[in-house]
Amino acid sequence: MKRYLLTIFSLFTAGCGTAIAAPPAAATQTVFNTPTPSTVQVAIRENNPNGEPDPRGKIVWVQTVPFEEYCKDVLPNEWMPSWSPESLKAGAMAVKMFAWYHHLHPITIGGLTFDVDNTTNFQSFRYLSGQVDTNQAVEAIRPLAFTLPSGDIMELNYRAGYRNNPNWQYRNAQKMSQWGSEYWAQRGRTYLQILQFYYMDRSLFQVP
């Protein structure tokens, strides 16, 4: 009897121990419970001999950049500022959601913790390089988020794609084609229609 009691007791304590040691279930980060980031930690990589940030270069320092300024300093370096406003807005949304997701999932390399770097490893970033037209696109989508219908914050990936082409293959891969966004904008599609073309099962949310 005593042995049974001991066994039950040990099972109970073991169970408690397991329960305590287990990490708490991670709360899902959604647009409902996660505010838009105020800043982004940008790892600045050393330049190659041509003066351009090297995607394989050493991280020189980590710069804290206000979130909207980061988006404004990325968009003209990822999209062409002369492209259609709806293409720029689609790009602004992709840049924003990409940055938001990575802000929630920072990484550490060589003792430095950061959200993104300033190269095409993440998004091409040049400090204080915002342009009039691209800034307007970023501001136009400021109160909005485009993510999963559940509200879970997901990154929006994109690639260059091909000029004068709808780039269907990018839709199949769930990545927006940058050239494709301009293709559709020139044909009268709105930024939301462009986003819905490349990313399936996503919804537009109002964010505070």
Partner: protein, 224 residues
């Protein structure tokens, strides 16, 4: 023989001019200047009617009156002698590279047009019309997605700052930030600071794809 060589030179000139004329790119409809507008040419022969001819170089003699592009109200700039080129609006924002504070009364010179601009209390120059110049050697290969412009900023007590490769788009506003660095007591060899704006990576992707062969594709074609 001289006649033959003259013909050959004319043909080469014509080809080059055609490239320059055709380099009106991409957003030509957005420009306020018609590239086919007749242009004065210092090499125009009597009776020939113009710079629209592919046989006359698309160059304007600055000493001759040039057609003037739209003048920005309040800009107070001298009309560019390069007005027949596609134009875009440009301004510079000059800041102290250490403190990031705006620098007033700095002088910014646009290299291609020699326009001289001065910054206001917020470090901004006025908006001015500038030509959108694409490198003609790339034109037959892949159309460049943006023109390039150079500017030099001067201010007493600061190193000169040269910015090259500023990306320009015809019919659009382009702003660039120029960092200037104060000359300190420990500076014994004082030379200009150079910053080159890199090419837009979308163009680099196109450029690399343009010449990719099938037997040695390298990283392969652009894909999702």
């Amino acid at each position: 023989m001289p006649r033959k060589s003259h013909t050959l030179i004319s043909m080469v000139t014509a080809l080059f001019s055609l490239c320059l004329v055709c380099s009106t790119p991409f957003q030509a409809a957005a420009t306020s200047v018609n590239p086919a507008t007749p242009q004065p040419s210092s090499k125009k022969s009597p009776g020939s009617n113009s710079g629209t001819s592919p046989f006359s170089p698309n160059v304007v003699n600055p000493s001759t009156p040039a057609p003037v592009g739209p003048v920005e109200s309040g800009g107070g700039h001298t009309p560019s002698p390069y007005a027949p080129w596609p134009v875009g609006k440009f301004r510079a924002h000059v800041i102290d590279g250490r403190t990031l504070q705006p620098l007033a009364t700095a002088e910014v010179v646009i290299i291609e047009t020699e326009q001289r601009l001065r910054t206001d209390a917020d470090g901004y120059t006025p908006w001015v019309d500038v030509p959108v110049l694409r490198n003609p050697r790339y034109r037959p290969l892949v159309q460049e997605l943006h023109g390039q412009l150079g500017a030099i900023a001067y201010k007493n007590g600061y190193r000169d700052s040269i910015h090259l490769g500023i990306r320009m788009h015809e019919g659009y506003h382009t702003e660039t930030t120029i960092w200037m660095y104060r000359i300190g007591p420990g500076d014994v060899r004082i030379e200009p600071v150079l910053y080159e704006v890199p090419y837009h990576h979308l163009w680099l992707v196109e450029l690399a794809d343009r010449f990719r062969s099938k037997d040695q594709p390298g990283e392969g074609a652009e894909r999702p």
